[in-house]
């Protein structure tokens, strides 16, 4: 039983490390934003494994939802400006 939880934590840790490296090394800005959202969502699963459900809910709603939405709004605004010139 404990082993299964440990393996789940190991998989989540690998997803977070590779995802954050990918978000930094890729050229496409939109891809980087979406992969950052995935990293933030998997960190909320990590908070759940640390027995902190309050922080997990807050991270899933604010850190993963609204922060990614703000980045996408900014990207949209920058792209709109690029079309004009």
């Amino acid at each position: 039983m404990v082993n299964r939880v440990y393996y789940l934590g190991l998989i989540i840790a690998f997803i977070m490390a590779f995802g954050s490296l990918w978000a930094l090394l890729t050229d496409d800005l939109f891809k980087a934003i979406v992969v950052f959202g995935i990293v933030s969502l998997s960190s909320s699963v990590m908070f759940l494994l640390m027995q902190a459900p309050d922080v997990a809910i807050t991270e899933a709603a604010i850190g993963s939802g609204i922060t990614t939405a703000l980045f996408i709004f900014t990207y949209k605004k920058l792209e709109d400006r690029k079309d004009e010139r």
Partner: protein, 247 residues
């Protein structure tokens, strides 16, 4: 972005940072004579132990730990956030207000053409909004019994406003948001002053003597969490209106 592709700089930076990271990990997990940051073995030395046997107020105060459980709310994190550290939480909400005020000043306002929303989004937006408002309301009403609380509840309620903005429906005006925010902020501080008049301590809980685990328990904690939820929702909704302003 010329130097971003240079392989040498990337590899050197990764190597240096991984060495530093390895030493920090070694120090934090050390159980020998070195500096010891974490203490996972003896639970008597934790911060929570001092929190449980808290005795910093006068002796006749009702804040002394009763011997079986924490006597304010069932969720201990909530009773830390909204009871013992309420000064921190209110000042943090004020910091959020100031950053979003600065956001409104800094962001450039220009004309942009509004894309008409599709029929599916326009028809389904009210149903989704009702569901989101129900979930948000449940979260701050039950913040002292189950995980959740005011901050994610405010975020979810502001997401309902966001869907209304995206679907092109008129939900709230910016003046209403400012009134909600001002009323919530003023009532938090007026409750604090009322508790100073009644008990003698600022922000002290003055409704006690009820069973842990009931819906109507924990005194002022659900009221404070509801006010915080409305204040956070109004502040976050301001961001969306700033982005999608029809000029």
């Amino acid at each position: 972005m010329r130097d971003e592709r240079s392989l040498f700089i990337n590899i050197v930076a990764l190597l240096i940072l991984s060495v530093i990271g390895f030493y920090i990990y070694k120090v934090s997990m050390d159980t020998g004579k070195g500096i010891k940051i974490t203490d996972n073995i003896t639970p008597q030395m934790r911060v929570a132990d001092r929190f449980m046997n808290k005795n910093v107020i006068k002796e006749e105060s009702k804040y002394v730990w009763g011997g079986t459980a924490e006597n304010t709310s069932a969720n201990i994190v909530t009773s830390v956030v909204v009871d013992y550290r309420l000064f921190d939480t209110t000042l943090e909400v004020i910091v959020l207000f100031v950053t979003i005020l600065g956001f409104g000043f800094v962001i450039p306002k220009d004309k942009r053409k509004i894309i008409k929303p599709t029929t599916i989004l326009n028809r389904w937006a009210p149903i989704l909004m009702i569901l989101m408002l129900m979930i948000g309301g449940y979260m701050f009403v039950n913040g002292h019994l189950s995980p959740g609380g005011g901050f994610p509840a405010g975020a979810i309620i502001s997401t309902a406003v966001l869907i209304g903005v995206l679907a092109g429906r008129k939900t709230l005006s910016q003046k209403t948001l400012k009134i909600i925010e001002a009323v919530a902020g003023i009532s938090i501080f007026s409750l604090g002053i009322a508790s100073f008049v009644i008990t003698g301590n600022f922000f002290q809980n003055f409704i006690l003597n009820d069973r842990i685990g009931d819906l109507f328990s924990a005194g002022l904690i659900p009221i404070f969490y509801g006010l915080i939820a409305f204040k956070v929702a109004a502040e976050l909704s301001n961001i969306y209106f700033e982005f999608y302003e029809e000029c």
